[in-house]
């Protein structure tokens, strides 16, 4: 087991090194002079003073070679210093820390809602394939997968904020402001989790140990709860990790519409402002977290599934 964990951590470090190169280069791959774009974002106008552009380029160190910029950036990053935002002039690491905390809260809430509904729904659907619950679950999940967040978010605001007045329409101020964006974000993972749970449970319910449990006189409900759910939930763990990693930086639409100060909005603003240090550090942070989360998911998967541990032990 320890060998498995050590290997995964080594892969994690290697991945981060490769990612650092891409993270550094990405802002330079787009068109336009970063100094001009930074200046434009500060004055919200296309016309910029060329002398100011030159001065800014020097101040930001953008006049140095890319290699020199990368090496000094990597050296600082290894010491936990991602520099200062070009626009806000605040330490990037502080901004990312705050935004990540918000995004993690939002993502975990969304996935929590999704899993709490999806696992029982998928399990119920699997116990009676083709039955009314299964049919309804299939219809609902197929519909939810097709609805984009940029449509669902305004609809949620219209219904719950405008017509019902139960929830705030935007902002990040207490539990009430978390509910609506978390619900919107939960819908698509809910659909996927339900379908995966259903498929996994259908496999599990045909397994010999389930037949054995039933033959010992256990009811269907007891069998499913004692023997089925644990095994049926294993693929959901993997899916949960993938969604968590995706939502940390990928909930841009929801964070912008609901004015939530998470990673999605931070990246959105950084792209608009051409805030290179924030973009680079955000990319590194999200990829690092994604790899870390997936590593942890693999470890958890191994804990839940002894066959995986056996395979690694023999490898």
């Amino acid at each position: 087991m320890w060998l498995f964990v050590t290997r995964r951590l080594a892969v994690l470090l290697l991945t981060l090194l490769v990612v650092s190169v891409f993270a550094f280069l990405i802002p330079y791959l787009s068109d336009g002079d970063p100094a001009v774009l930074v200046l434009r974002s500060r004055v919200a106008d296309f016309q910029v003073d060329q002398a100011a552009v030159e001065a800014l380029r020097q101040q930001l160190g953008l006049d140095r070679s890319l290699l020199a910029q990368y090496l000094s950036w990597l050296n600082a990053a290894l010491h936990g210093d991602f520099g200062y935002s070009y626009t806000s002039r605040a330490p990037v690491i502080d901004q990312i820390g705050r935004a990540l905390l918000v995004s993690i809260t939002l993502a975990m809430s969304a996935l929590g809602i999704a899993i709490v509904i999806a696992v029982p729904l998928g399990t119920a659907a699997a116990t009676r394939p083709g039955g009314p619950i299964d049919t309804a679950a299939t219809f609902v999940t197929q519909t939810l997968v097709a609805i984009p967040e940029y449509w669902m978010a305004p609809m949620g605001i219209l219904v719950f904020a405008l017509y019902l007045g139960w929830l705030p329409s935007a902002g990040w101020d207490g539990m009430s402001s978390l509910v609506l964006p978390a619900m919107v974000l939960a819908l698509r993972p809910l659909a996927y989790f339900t379908r995966v749970t259903r498929a996994a449970m259908m496999d599990v319910l045909q397994a010999p140990y389930i037949t054995a449990a039933r033959s010992r006189g256990l009811s269907m409900t007891q069998t499913v709860l004692r023997h089925g759910v644990r095994n049926g939930a294993i693929p959901v763990v993997t899916l949960f990790a993938l969604w968590l990693a995706g939502l940390l930086g990928g909930s841009v639409v929801v964070e912008v519409i609901f004015a939530i100060p998470g990673m999605g909005r931070l990246i959105y603003e950084a792209v608009i402002n051409k805030d290179i240090p924030v973009l680079q550090a955000s990319f590194v942070a999200i990829v690092a977290l994604s790899v870390l989360i997936n590593t942890l998911a693999d470890i958890l998967y191994a804990v839940l599934n002894p066959m995986v541990r056996m395979a690694h032990a023999h490898a």
Partner: protein
């Protein structure tokens, strides 16, 4: 019959949750669009965030009527062609208790001059020095004679903060302004909390507490006003105006901004170097129809570069006439056969209306036998070709009062022969001569007459096609009193603003 709203209200009152999301108590809540993005650096647009918030003040101010008025300075005199003396208002204190002196005002202005990328309105190119010549007089000298210096001192970039605000190259506006409101909390790009400045030099301030929310999505800002979460929703989209107007308890405040959506014409490229061809294109466009359709009637068709309400707009001017037949005749006079002229039309995506607008322009040009190929991209992708003169037509949203409340800078940079932003590549010696002559004119009224003549010349010569005067629309609760939009978006929270 019970209405849906009535049913919902009854249902909510049963649950005891009605109004859970409404703006609380006497606190005034405003949903703004632009958050501070540069750590409150005064050389950036963050200065406007602070002046709109009723915190930052300048030596002079452009009032809601567009005129220059005293602010932290009570008077100003041109003591030499290149020098202006500003006499400070007596008895003004910063919110941290320090007195405003000529030394602190000069230090604040010098701090803005010394930054790496200074503001265009107040840069070392335009300002030679700022010094305190006695306890309550600040002298500003310029490299060349300038009549615009008092106007420059009204730009938010020249805001005066307490010496305590300038630390380690950063700006801390919390408790260091002179304005009617004191910032008590800044929550990143989420919002700001403010309270009344009880010692404000300008008298009693009506609102006790204010919360500014920075909400990037315009539709959500409109929703915030409809739900009652905010008392004011700034810059609501034109598409929501009809709904907002029909919502009980809401009002709309509209203003023509000093910004015109313009179809740039490359006047150096044949056959667009022929005024008849440009006039034909101008006459091909139904500006009234465009304002009514693309902008849902929320804007006015352009009468030239300046909106009718601006003091330098030609008096009684009307939008260019829509006359496709005359346009065809003009093309024939220029030797252009129907269907023989194809032009590239650039539109950038950052301005969301431009895609639709470009499609309508294409259609209307087609009606007079001119084909237009539309190219839509981000501005940065189009800019190199526009700057290099490798284009025919391009849509541009342009403000003519970015730096200072006087259009001289705009006329020079956009239409002067050596203008730094002369995208239409227009060059007319008479235009430049007229503009140069008026540069030293201290009397604003006389300057404005010349500006209006120049604007009319641009329109008559069809240098560009001025399409619509852009408008700003704010939605606000009927409980709000004395709400106005400032013509330059410099002031929102004023001492007079009140909540019923």
């Amino acid at each position: 019959m019970i209405t849906r709203a009535g049913f919902v209200a009854a249902f909510l009152s049963t649950l005891g949750v009605a109004g859970a999301a409404s703006a609380q108590g006497g606190k005034f809540v405003i949903a703004e669009n632009f958050p501070p993005r540069a750590g409150f650096a005064l050389e950036t647009d963050d200065a406007n965030v602070l002046s709109k918030a009723g915190c930052l003040e300048m030596l002079t101010r452009i009032d809601f009527d567009g005129k220059l008025k005293p602010a932290l300075a009570t008077s100003w005199t041109q003591t030499a062609p290149d020098a202006w003396d500003f006499t400070l208002r007596k008895g003004v204190s910063f919110q941290d208790g320090q007195a405003l002196t000529a030394a602190s005002a000069a230090a604040a202005l010098n701090a803005v001059l010394k930054v790496t990328a200074p503001a265009r309105a107040f840069s070392p190119k335009l300002i030679k020095s700022v010094e305190a010549i006695n306890e309550d007089t600040v002298r500003v000298t310029t490299p060349v004679a300038s009549v615009l210096t008092p106007l420059r001192l009204a730009a938010a970039n020249t805001g005066i903060l307490s010496p305590a605000a300038y630390k380690d190259g950063k700006i801390d506006p919390v408790g260091t302004c002179t304005g009617p409101f004191v910032i008590t909390r800044v929550n990143g790009q989420q919002g700001m909390s403010l309270k009344r400045n009880d010692k404000y030099w300008g008298g009693a301030v009506k609102l006790a507490e204010v919360e500014i929310k920075f909400i990037p999505d315009a539709n959500v800002r409109a929703t915030q006003v409809r739900t009652g979460e905010a008392h004011v929703g700034a810059a609501v989209p034109a598409s929501t105006l009809a709904t907002l107007k029909s919502t009980a308890g809401l009002k709309i405040e509209s203003i023509a901004t000093p910004r015109t959506s313009t179809l740039l014409i490359n006047t150096k490229k044949a056959p667009l170097d022929n005024p008849k061809v440009r006039q034909a294109l101008q006459m091909a466009l139904d500006l009234q129809g465009i304002a009514a359709s693309v902008y849902e009637g929320s804007v006015q068709p352009a009468i030239g570069p300046f909106a009718p309400a601006e003091p330098w707009a030609p008096k009684g001017a009307k939008p260019a006439a829509y006359d496709p037949k005359k346009a065809q005749a003009l093309l024939a006079e220029a030797g252009i056969k129907p269907g023989s002229l194809t032009l590239d039309l650039f539109a950038y995506v950052e301005k969301i209306e431009f895609k639709d607008l470009a499609a309508i322009l294409q259609d209307q040009f087609n009606a007079i036998g001119v084909k237009a190929n539309i190219r839509v991209a981000e501005y940065k992708a189009l800019e190199p070709d526009i700057l290099a003169g490798k284009y025919d037509l391009a849509l541009l949203s342009r403000s003519h009062m970015v730096d200072v409340a006087d259009p001289a800078g705009y006329l020079q940079s956009d239409y002067g022969c050596g203008g730094g932003y002369n995208l239409s590549h227009y060059c007319n010696a008479k235009f430049d001569e007229k503009l140069a002559k008026v540069a030293g004119e201290a009397d604003p009224a006389k300057r404005y007459v010349v500006y209006s003549e120049l604007a009319q010349d641009l329109q008559n010569d069809a240098v560009n096609i001025f399409v619509i005067h852009e408008a700003g629309n704010d939605a606000y609760s009927a409980k709000v009193r004395n709400y106005k939009i400032h013509p330059l978006y410099q002031y929102t929270l004023t001492p007079e603003l009140a909540l019923e």
